[in-house]
């Protein structure tokens, strides 16, 4: 009896979240892929062919035969989309690197802080992460505007005479991404640095190794798992970022998340925006799998 209950319970524990994710995560992707092979029409829903589940097997075959790769051919031939993909990856790459430059010293400083203040510092890093993403991006508009606070400050301090034009440029997008994603990078690096055995560095220094060499030869390699996890957490969502390029970027900013949104809401071309999403996903599949592997490995090693 006990065994029977246990097996029923274990089935339920696994199958309920499993089914939920299948229905609301995996199946939607299949639908996206299917619609990306359709054509846009002026109808509701605005694409054709639609699969009618009541039409039976023959109806299914009929609609399959109408599928076309036109949307993908169009994406590949239109330089706008190709450029948008490339510049998204470049912007995400540069901002990941900048986030690492800003975030690593913070994580390092936190891990080396006295144990008594460490938990407070940790809370201070997490707190902005809990406040709305939109609010944090919005805050930068007031700072970066031509008549904004940064320019007012720089002119007051006699650093510049004419206001800098930062808002609505790629620089503003980079600042926005670094600012919004900073906690994602600081936290994993901090947790690897905190667990690190510092006596290794002391041993190296006792043996005459300069602190900077000791950092590059010992501390940094040991913190690599955190660095890798943090970089993925910044890079992957940043490639598809929509809010930041939309609010802080300008006409020169080409990012694929924004292109997808425009294609979807302004042009109402659902098949093409589905194709954009499928290609974006294909681009991100390798980093996502690597991220998932590194997370699973981290979980295993904690056991």
């Amino acid at each position: 009896m006990q065994k029977l209950i246990a097996s029923v319970v274990s089935r339920l524990v696994i199958s309920v979240p499993y089914l939920w994710m299948l229905i609301f995560f995996l199946i939607p992707f299949i639908i996206v892929f299917k619609i990306s092979l359709s054509q846009v029409t002026m109808a509701i829903p605005p694409y054709t062919p639609t699969i009618d589940i009541w039409a039976g097997w023959q109806g299914f075959i009929n609609s399959i035969s109408q599928f076309s790769w036109d949307n993908y051919v169009f994406l590949g031939s239109d330089p706008l989309y190709v450029k948008a993909y490339i510049s998204s990856v470049i912007i995400a790459g540069i901002s990941t690197f900048l986030t690492l430059l800003v975030g690593y010293p913070i994580a390092y400083g936190m891990a080396r802080a006295p144990a008594t203040v460490r938990s407070t510092l940790l809370m201070l890093v997490i707190l902005p992460f809990w406040t709305s993403f939109l609010i944090r991006v919005y805050a930068w508009i007031g700072i970066l505007k031509p008549e904004g606070l940064l320019n007012q400050f720089l002119i007051w301090a006699n650093v510049i005479d004419t206001p800098l034009n930062i808002l609505n440029t790629n620089t503003a997008v980079l600042i926005g991404i670094v600012y919004s994603y900073l906690p994602f990078l600081v936290l994993p690096i901090y947790s690897t640095l905190e667990k690190m055995d510092y006596s290794l560095v002391e041993a190296a220094e006792d043996l005459g190794c300069p602190p900077i060499t000791a950092f590059w030869k010992i501390t940094f390699p040991l913190s690599l798992p955190g660095v890798v996890a943090g970089c993925f957490l910044v890079f992957i969502p940043a490639v598809g970022e929509f809010v930041i390029p939309d609010l802080l970027g300008g006409s020169e900013t080409l990012m694929i998340g924004k292109t997808l949104w425009n294609e979807f809401s302004a042009n109402r071309d659902w098949p093409l925006s589905s194709a954009v999403a499928v290609v974006l996903l294909a681009l991100l599949v390798v980093p996502i799998v690597l991220f998932q592997r590194s997370e699973a490995k981290a979980q295993e090693s904690e056991k």
Binding site: V13, G109, P114, P128, L182, I236, A277
Partner: protein, 272 residues
Amino acid sequence: MNTTWSRFNIVSLVIGFAFLYLPIVLLVVFSFNESRLVTVWAGFSTKWYVSLFNNKSFIDAAWVTIRVGLISATVATILGTLGALALTRYTRFRGRMLFSAMIYAPLVMPEVITGLSLLLLFVAIGFDRGIWTVTLAHITFTMCFVAVVVQSRLVTFDRSLEEAAMDLGATPVTTFFKVTLPVILPAVVSGWMLAFTLSLDDLVISSFTSGPGATTLPMRIYSQVRLGVTPEINAACTILIAIVAVGVVIASVANKRREVQKARDEQAAARH
């Protein structure tokens, strides 16, 4: 560990935290500005808060957001906890690789993809878009965050406690509610809070999946922001920040108290 706190560390922390907090502080300060200009200080005033509370569309959006947040966080916490149990307790079942991929992928998936795919699902099954579609979408992406938070607590859980309960005749369900749940409760609660704030904040997935009459607060703020920066939005943002900050501070104080209590209990137990 040696905690030599060099000047370099202090400087990098001060600059880092200034970078993190200055924009938010400026935003809050200028919500109390008398002038309509958000960048020129003209004296203290709370008039933007008054006009915000008289703005019906903001209040309606706030209610929608809170309802979606409460329902989706609660369901996501249940599903996410089950998911975490499935991942840590059952190392072998058919499709485990796929399951763990489906739990980790939404954490980094660009929101435009998740939003678009859920919208197309709702259209395909003929589900009218509104507050319920937003809620379902929020449950889906927040339950993964809950699963990861709870899982990190479960991997350090001492399973002999459960085995002892089962040996003494407790059913798996009783064991879960009497032994496992009390131990992992802090992680479950912080998972709920994370899910709630993620739902409160979400703009992109909500915009894709919502329909007429289901405008959430971030959607409302976003459409206003596109027209320009106004002190009214600063006021709305300040209220949101205040709610979240109070919640986080209460949670961390409660956590600290519990830790102190635990340490005292352990000392008392050691003395006997």
